[in-house]
Symmetry: C2
Subunit: 196 residues, 2 copies
Protein backbone atom coordinates (compact mmCIF):
# COMPACT_ATOMS: atom_id res chain seq x y z
CA UNK A 1 0.00 0.00 0.00
CA UNK A 2 1.50 3.33 -1.04
CA UNK A 3 2.31 5.62 1.82
CA UNK A 4 0.27 8.76 2.06
CA UNK A 5 2.24 11.31 0.10
CA UNK A 6 2.71 14.20 2.45
CA UNK A 7 4.97 15.99 -0.03
CA UNK A 8 2.41 17.64 -2.24
CA UNK A 9 0.14 18.66 0.59
CA UNK A 10 3.03 20.39 2.32
CA UNK A 11 4.16 21.91 -0.96
CA UNK A 12 0.74 23.47 -1.47
CA UNK A 13 0.60 24.85 2.03
CA UNK A 14 4.09 26.26 1.86
CA UNK A 15 3.34 27.80 -1.50
CA UNK A 16 0.15 29.33 -0.16
CA UNK A 17 2.11 30.75 2.74
CA UNK A 18 4.65 32.23 0.34
CA UNK A 19 1.99 33.72 -1.91
CA UNK A 20 0.01 35.18 0.98
CA UNK A 21 2.68 36.15 3.52
CA UNK A 22 5.72 36.92 1.38
CA UNK A 23 4.34 38.07 -1.94
CA UNK A 24 1.32 39.63 -0.30
CA UNK A 25 -1.17 38.44 -2.90
CA UNK A 26 -4.13 38.60 -0.56
CA UNK A 27 -6.54 38.10 -3.47
CA UNK A 28 -4.71 35.09 -4.83
CA UNK A 29 -6.93 32.50 -6.49
CA UNK A 30 -6.56 28.77 -6.12
CA UNK A 31 -5.19 28.83 -9.67
CA UNK A 32 -2.50 31.32 -8.64
CA UNK A 33 -1.45 29.06 -5.81
CA UNK A 34 -1.55 25.92 -7.92
CA UNK A 35 0.57 27.59 -10.61
CA UNK A 36 3.07 28.83 -8.05
CA UNK A 37 3.31 25.32 -6.65
CA UNK A 38 3.67 23.76 -10.09
CA UNK A 39 0.65 21.53 -9.64
CA UNK A 40 -2.83 21.71 -11.05
CA UNK A 41 -5.89 22.97 -9.33
CA UNK A 42 -7.79 19.75 -8.81
CA UNK A 43 -4.83 18.47 -6.78
CA UNK A 44 -5.33 21.39 -4.48
CA UNK A 45 -8.94 20.34 -4.03
CA UNK A 46 -7.87 16.77 -3.51
CA UNK A 47 -5.82 17.67 -0.44
CA UNK A 48 -7.91 20.57 0.81
CA UNK A 49 -11.57 20.33 -0.01
CA UNK A 50 -12.03 23.99 -0.64
CA UNK A 51 -10.15 27.23 -0.79
CA UNK A 52 -11.63 28.12 2.59
CA UNK A 53 -10.24 24.96 4.12
CA UNK A 54 -6.76 25.69 2.78
CA UNK A 55 -6.92 29.23 4.11
CA UNK A 56 -8.20 28.01 7.45
CA UNK A 57 -5.27 25.64 7.84
CA UNK A 58 -2.73 28.19 6.68
CA UNK A 59 -4.24 30.74 9.02
CA UNK A 60 -4.34 28.50 12.06
CA UNK A 61 -0.83 27.18 11.58
CA UNK A 62 0.63 30.60 10.94
CA UNK A 63 -1.00 32.05 14.02
CA UNK A 64 0.15 29.08 16.04
CA UNK A 65 3.71 29.39 14.76
CA UNK A 66 3.81 33.04 15.65
CA UNK A 67 2.63 32.36 19.16
CA UNK A 68 5.10 29.50 19.56
CA UNK A 69 7.90 31.72 18.30
CA UNK A 70 6.99 34.53 20.67
CA UNK A 71 6.66 32.09 23.57
CA UNK A 72 10.03 30.51 22.91
CA UNK A 73 11.72 33.88 23.28
CA UNK A 74 9.57 35.63 25.85
CA UNK A 75 9.33 32.48 27.94
CA UNK A 76 13.07 31.80 27.93
CA UNK A 77 15.11 32.33 31.09
CA UNK A 78 17.41 34.98 29.70
CA UNK A 79 17.88 38.13 31.77
CA UNK A 80 15.25 40.70 30.89
CA UNK A 81 17.36 43.04 28.81
CA UNK A 82 18.90 40.26 26.75
CA UNK A 83 15.50 38.68 26.30
CA UNK A 84 14.12 41.87 24.81
CA UNK A 85 17.20 42.29 22.65
CA UNK A 86 16.91 38.73 21.44
CA UNK A 87 13.24 39.20 20.71
CA UNK A 88 13.93 42.24 18.56
CA UNK A 89 16.54 40.39 16.52
CA UNK A 90 14.50 37.25 15.98
CA UNK A 91 11.24 39.01 15.25
CA UNK A 92 12.85 41.48 12.91
CA UNK A 93 14.00 38.57 10.78
CA UNK A 94 10.71 36.77 11.15
CA UNK A 95 8.61 39.71 10.02
CA UNK A 96 11.06 40.54 7.25
CA UNK A 97 10.65 37.03 5.93
CA UNK A 98 6.85 37.24 5.99
CA UNK A 99 5.95 40.93 5.77
CA UNK A 100 2.30 40.38 4.86
CA UNK A 101 1.57 37.77 7.52
CA UNK A 102 0.00 40.12 10.03
CA UNK A 103 -2.07 41.89 7.40
CA UNK A 104 -3.29 38.51 6.23
CA UNK A 105 -4.29 37.49 9.74
CA UNK A 106 -6.09 40.76 10.37
CA UNK A 107 -7.96 40.43 7.13
CA UNK A 108 -9.00 36.84 7.79
CA UNK A 109 -10.10 37.54 11.34
CA UNK A 110 -12.20 40.30 9.89
CA UNK A 111 -13.79 37.99 7.33
CA UNK A 112 -15.24 36.18 10.33
CA UNK A 113 -14.75 32.86 8.59
CA UNK A 114 -16.46 30.65 11.16
CA UNK A 115 -13.95 27.90 10.43
CA UNK A 116 -11.01 29.78 11.87
CA UNK A 117 -9.63 28.36 15.07
CA UNK A 118 -10.65 30.28 18.14
CA UNK A 119 -8.30 32.10 20.41
CA UNK A 120 -5.90 29.92 22.35
CA UNK A 121 -5.83 32.54 25.07
CA UNK A 122 -2.77 34.26 26.46
CA UNK A 123 -0.10 31.57 26.86
CA UNK A 124 1.50 31.18 30.31
CA UNK A 125 4.90 32.18 28.92
CA UNK A 126 3.50 35.53 27.88
CA UNK A 127 1.77 35.97 31.24
CA UNK A 128 5.09 35.35 32.92
CA UNK A 129 6.81 37.81 30.62
CA UNK A 130 4.16 40.42 31.40
CA UNK A 131 4.81 40.04 35.11
CA UNK A 132 8.54 40.28 34.44
CA UNK A 133 7.83 43.52 32.64
CA UNK A 134 5.85 44.73 35.63
CA UNK A 135 8.73 43.91 37.92
CA UNK A 136 11.22 45.77 35.71
CA UNK A 137 8.91 48.76 35.86
CA UNK A 138 8.99 48.65 39.65
CA UNK A 139 12.77 48.36 39.54
CA UNK A 140 12.80 51.42 37.30
CA UNK A 141 14.61 49.71 34.44
CA UNK A 142 11.82 50.66 32.09
CA UNK A 143 9.09 53.28 32.05
CA UNK A 144 5.94 52.56 34.04
CA UNK A 145 2.88 51.69 31.97
CA UNK A 146 0.60 48.74 31.31
CA UNK A 147 2.77 45.69 30.63
CA UNK A 148 0.51 44.98 27.67
CA UNK A 149 1.39 48.34 26.21
CA UNK A 150 5.07 47.54 26.68
CA UNK A 151 4.59 44.41 24.60
CA UNK A 152 2.55 46.22 22.00
CA UNK A 153 5.28 48.84 21.68
CA UNK A 154 7.83 46.13 21.14
CA UNK A 155 5.80 44.54 18.38
CA UNK A 156 4.92 47.92 16.89
CA UNK A 157 8.48 49.20 16.69
CA UNK A 158 9.73 45.97 15.18
CA UNK A 159 6.86 45.05 12.86
CA UNK A 160 5.31 48.25 11.59
CA UNK A 161 8.23 49.63 9.60
CA UNK A 162 8.62 46.34 7.78
CA UNK A 163 4.93 45.78 7.16
CA UNK A 164 4.43 49.31 5.86
CA UNK A 165 7.68 49.49 3.92
CA UNK A 166 5.98 49.93 0.51
CA UNK A 167 4.06 52.91 1.87
CA UNK A 168 7.18 54.64 3.13
CA UNK A 169 9.23 53.80 0.06
CA UNK A 170 6.69 55.88 -1.79
CA UNK A 171 6.45 58.57 0.88
CA UNK A 172 10.14 59.18 1.42
CA UNK A 173 11.82 59.02 -1.96
CA UNK A 174 13.86 56.02 -1.00
CA UNK A 175 15.15 53.02 -2.82
CA UNK A 176 14.55 49.68 -1.19
CA UNK A 177 18.21 49.63 -0.17
CA UNK A 178 18.03 53.09 1.40
CA UNK A 179 15.09 51.93 3.47
CA UNK A 180 16.81 48.71 4.50
CA UNK A 181 19.80 50.71 5.64
CA UNK A 182 17.41 52.72 7.79
CA UNK A 183 16.22 49.45 9.31
CA UNK A 184 19.66 48.35 10.42
CA UNK A 185 19.91 51.08 13.04
CA UNK A 186 16.54 50.23 14.51
CA UNK A 187 17.58 47.50 16.92
CA UNK A 188 19.81 49.70 19.02
CA UNK A 189 17.38 52.57 18.65
CA UNK A 190 14.49 50.51 19.94
CA UNK A 191 16.58 49.28 22.86
CA UNK A 192 17.44 52.89 23.71
CA UNK A 193 13.79 53.92 23.52
CA UNK A 194 12.61 51.12 25.73
CA UNK A 195 15.29 51.25 28.39
CA UNK A 196 14.87 54.96 29.06
Amino acid sequence: MPVKDVGTEQLIKETARRVFFVEGKLHATTQDIADAAGINRPSLHYYFRSKNELIRQVYDEAKGEMVVKANAILGSDLPFREKVEHFITIFFNYVTGAPYLQSFLINEINCKNPLLGKSTGTPPEVRRFLSEVEEEMKKGTIRKASPENFMINLFALVSYPIIMKPLYLDFFEHSSDDYDRLMTERKTMIMDMIFS
Copy 2:
Protein backbone atom coordinates in the same frame (compact mmCIF):
# COMPACT_ATOMS: atom_id res chain seq x y z
CA MET B 1 -30.72 71.05 -18.36
CA PRO B 2 -30.41 68.85 -15.30
CA VAL B 3 -27.36 69.55 -13.22
CA LYS B 4 -24.78 66.83 -13.09
CA ASP B 5 -25.68 64.85 -10.01
CA VAL B 6 -22.54 64.72 -7.93
CA GLY B 7 -24.42 63.18 -5.02
CA THR B 8 -24.49 59.58 -6.11
CA GLU B 9 -20.89 59.57 -7.27
CA GLN B 10 -19.77 60.89 -3.90
CA LEU B 11 -22.05 58.47 -2.10
CA ILE B 12 -20.47 55.56 -3.90
CA LYS B 13 -16.95 56.70 -3.14
CA GLU B 14 -17.72 57.37 0.49
CA THR B 15 -19.39 54.01 0.80
CA ALA B 16 -16.41 52.31 -0.81
CA ARG B 17 -14.13 54.08 1.64
CA ARG B 18 -16.29 52.91 4.53
CA VAL B 19 -16.40 49.33 3.29
CA PHE B 20 -12.66 49.18 2.62
CA PHE B 21 -11.16 51.36 5.35
CA VAL B 22 -13.60 51.04 8.23
CA GLU B 23 -15.20 47.66 7.79
CA GLY B 24 -12.04 46.21 6.32
CA LYS B 25 -13.78 44.20 3.63
CA LEU B 26 -10.76 44.08 1.38
CA HIS B 27 -12.43 41.50 -0.86
CA ALA B 28 -15.63 43.50 -1.24
CA THR B 29 -17.37 43.07 -4.58
CA THR B 30 -19.00 45.87 -6.55
CA GLN B 31 -22.30 44.36 -5.45
CA ASP B 32 -21.28 44.67 -1.80
CA ILE B 33 -20.48 48.32 -2.30
CA ALA B 34 -23.63 49.01 -4.29
CA ASP B 35 -25.75 47.35 -1.61
CA ALA B 36 -24.03 49.29 1.16
CA ALA B 37 -24.67 52.50 -0.76
CA GLY B 38 -28.29 51.61 -1.45
CA ILE B 39 -27.88 51.88 -5.20
CA ASN B 40 -27.67 49.24 -7.88
CA ARG B 41 -24.57 47.98 -9.54
CA PRO B 42 -24.98 49.43 -13.01
CA SER B 43 -25.05 52.89 -11.42
CA LEU B 44 -21.64 52.17 -10.02
CA HIS B 45 -20.43 51.37 -13.51
CA TYR B 46 -22.09 54.47 -14.84
CA TYR B 47 -19.98 56.73 -12.63
CA PHE B 48 -16.84 54.62 -12.53
CA ARG B 49 -16.28 52.52 -15.58
CA SER B 50 -14.84 49.59 -13.75
CA LYS B 51 -14.11 48.34 -10.28
CA ASN B 52 -10.46 49.09 -10.91
CA GLU B 53 -11.25 52.70 -11.70
CA LEU B 54 -13.25 53.08 -8.50
CA ILE B 55 -10.45 51.56 -6.49
CA ARG B 56 -7.90 53.74 -8.21
CA GLN B 57 -9.78 56.88 -7.30
CA VAL B 58 -10.43 55.77 -3.74
CA TYR B 59 -6.78 54.83 -3.39
CA ASP B 60 -5.39 58.04 -4.81
CA GLU B 61 -7.69 60.27 -2.80
CA ALA B 62 -7.11 58.39 0.44
CA LYS B 63 -3.35 58.55 0.02
CA GLY B 64 -3.58 62.21 -0.84
CA GLU B 65 -5.75 62.94 2.18
CA MET B 66 -3.34 61.18 4.48
CA VAL B 67 -0.42 63.17 3.15
CA VAL B 68 -2.38 66.42 3.42
CA LYS B 69 -3.35 65.58 6.98
CA ALA B 70 0.22 64.76 7.95
CA ASN B 71 1.50 67.91 6.26
CA ALA B 72 -1.02 70.13 7.99
CA ILE B 73 0.27 69.01 11.37
CA LEU B 74 3.95 68.41 10.73
CA GLY B 75 4.19 71.58 8.65
CA SER B 76 2.49 73.78 11.25
CA ASP B 77 4.52 76.32 13.20
CA LEU B 78 3.83 74.89 16.62
CA PRO B 79 6.81 74.34 18.92
CA PHE B 80 8.30 70.90 18.36
CA ARG B 81 6.99 69.18 21.45
CA GLU B 82 3.45 70.44 20.98
CA LYS B 83 3.58 69.55 17.33
CA VAL B 84 4.42 65.96 18.12
CA GLU B 85 1.75 65.86 20.81
CA HIS B 86 -0.80 67.29 18.42
CA PHE B 87 0.18 64.78 15.78
CA ILE B 88 -0.34 61.88 18.14
CA THR B 89 -3.82 63.07 19.11
CA ILE B 90 -4.99 63.79 15.58
CA PHE B 91 -3.54 60.67 14.02
CA PHE B 92 -4.81 58.44 16.77
CA ASN B 93 -8.32 59.57 15.92
CA TYR B 94 -7.68 59.38 12.21
CA VAL B 95 -6.42 55.81 12.30
CA THR B 96 -9.13 54.78 14.74
CA GLY B 97 -11.72 56.06 12.28
CA ALA B 98 -10.18 54.13 9.38
CA PRO B 99 -8.26 51.22 10.87
CA TYR B 100 -7.90 49.28 7.62
CA LEU B 101 -6.76 52.21 5.50
CA GLN B 102 -3.06 51.47 5.67
CA SER B 103 -3.55 47.76 5.06
CA PHE B 104 -5.65 48.64 2.04
CA LEU B 105 -2.96 50.94 0.65
CA ILE B 106 -0.24 48.35 1.19
CA ASN B 107 -2.29 45.72 -0.52
CA GLU B 108 -3.09 47.92 -3.50
CA ILE B 109 0.47 49.09 -3.94
CA ASN B 110 1.41 45.45 -3.97
CA CYS B 111 -1.15 44.63 -6.65
CA LYS B 112 0.91 46.89 -8.87
CA ASN B 113 -2.24 48.20 -10.50
CA PRO B 114 -0.59 50.35 -13.18
CA LEU B 115 -3.40 52.87 -12.86
CA LEU B 116 -2.47 53.94 -9.35
CA GLY B 117 -1.10 57.43 -9.07
CA LYS B 118 2.63 57.57 -8.73
CA SER B 119 4.45 58.88 -5.71
CA THR B 120 4.09 62.59 -5.09
CA GLY B 121 7.48 62.55 -3.43
CA THR B 122 8.29 63.77 0.05
CA PRO B 123 6.35 67.01 0.57
CA PRO B 124 8.35 70.09 1.65
CA GLU B 125 6.46 70.23 4.95
CA VAL B 126 7.74 66.79 5.83
CA ARG B 127 11.27 67.70 4.75
CA ARG B 128 11.10 70.70 7.05
CA PHE B 129 9.80 68.55 9.87
CA LEU B 130 12.64 66.10 9.34
CA SER B 131 15.18 68.88 9.66
CA GLU B 132 13.40 70.11 12.79
CA VAL B 133 13.78 66.60 14.15
CA GLU B 134 17.46 66.68 13.33
CA GLU B 135 17.83 69.95 15.14
CA GLU B 136 16.05 68.62 18.22
CA MET B 137 18.44 65.70 18.19
CA LYS B 138 21.39 68.08 18.21
CA LYS B 139 19.78 70.01 21.05
CA GLY B 140 19.43 66.71 22.89
CA THR B 141 15.68 66.96 23.31
CA ILE B 142 15.26 63.61 21.63
CA ARG B 143 17.48 60.59 21.03
CA LYS B 144 19.88 60.74 18.10
CA ALA B 145 18.94 58.60 15.11
CA SER B 146 17.85 59.02 11.51
CA PRO B 147 15.06 61.59 11.41
CA GLU B 148 13.18 59.21 9.15
CA ASN B 149 13.29 56.58 11.85
CA PHE B 150 11.93 59.12 14.30
CA MET B 151 8.95 59.66 12.03
CA ILE B 152 8.49 55.96 11.46
CA ASN B 153 8.48 55.39 15.22
CA LEU B 154 5.82 58.02 15.63
CA PHE B 155 3.61 56.42 13.02
CA ALA B 156 4.34 52.94 14.35
CA LEU B 157 3.50 53.69 17.96
CA VAL B 158 0.29 55.45 17.01
CA SER B 159 -0.95 53.28 14.15
CA TYR B 160 0.12 49.73 14.81
CA PRO B 161 -1.88 49.03 17.97
CA ILE B 162 -5.05 50.24 16.28
CA ILE B 163 -4.44 48.47 12.99
CA MET B 164 -3.63 45.18 14.70
CA LYS B 165 -6.28 45.43 17.40
CA PRO B 166 -8.17 42.29 16.28
CA LEU B 167 -4.96 40.30 16.55
CA TYR B 168 -4.27 41.43 20.09
CA LEU B 169 -7.87 41.10 21.20
CA ASP B 170 -7.41 37.45 20.41
CA PHE B 171 -3.92 37.21 21.86
CA PHE B 172 -4.54 38.90 25.18
CA GLU B 173 -7.93 37.76 26.40
CA HIS B 174 -9.35 41.23 26.24
CA SER B 175 -12.71 42.68 25.44
CA SER B 176 -12.78 45.52 22.96
CA ASP B 177 -13.35 47.91 25.87
CA ASP B 178 -10.37 46.54 27.80
CA TYR B 179 -8.19 47.15 24.78
CA ASP B 180 -9.54 50.64 24.22
CA ARG B 181 -8.76 51.46 27.84
CA LEU B 182 -5.22 50.34 27.15
CA MET B 183 -5.11 52.78 24.24
CA THR B 184 -6.02 55.78 26.34
CA GLU B 185 -2.72 55.72 28.20
CA ARG B 186 -0.70 55.54 25.00
CA LYS B 187 -0.48 59.24 24.20
CA THR B 188 1.44 60.17 27.33
CA MET B 189 3.41 56.95 27.13
CA ILE B 190 4.51 57.67 23.58
CA MET B 191 5.49 61.21 24.53
CA ASP B 192 7.56 59.81 27.39
CA MET B 193 9.25 57.30 25.11
CA ILE B 194 10.11 59.86 22.48
CA PHE B 195 11.32 62.65 24.74
CA SER B 196 13.75 60.47 26.65
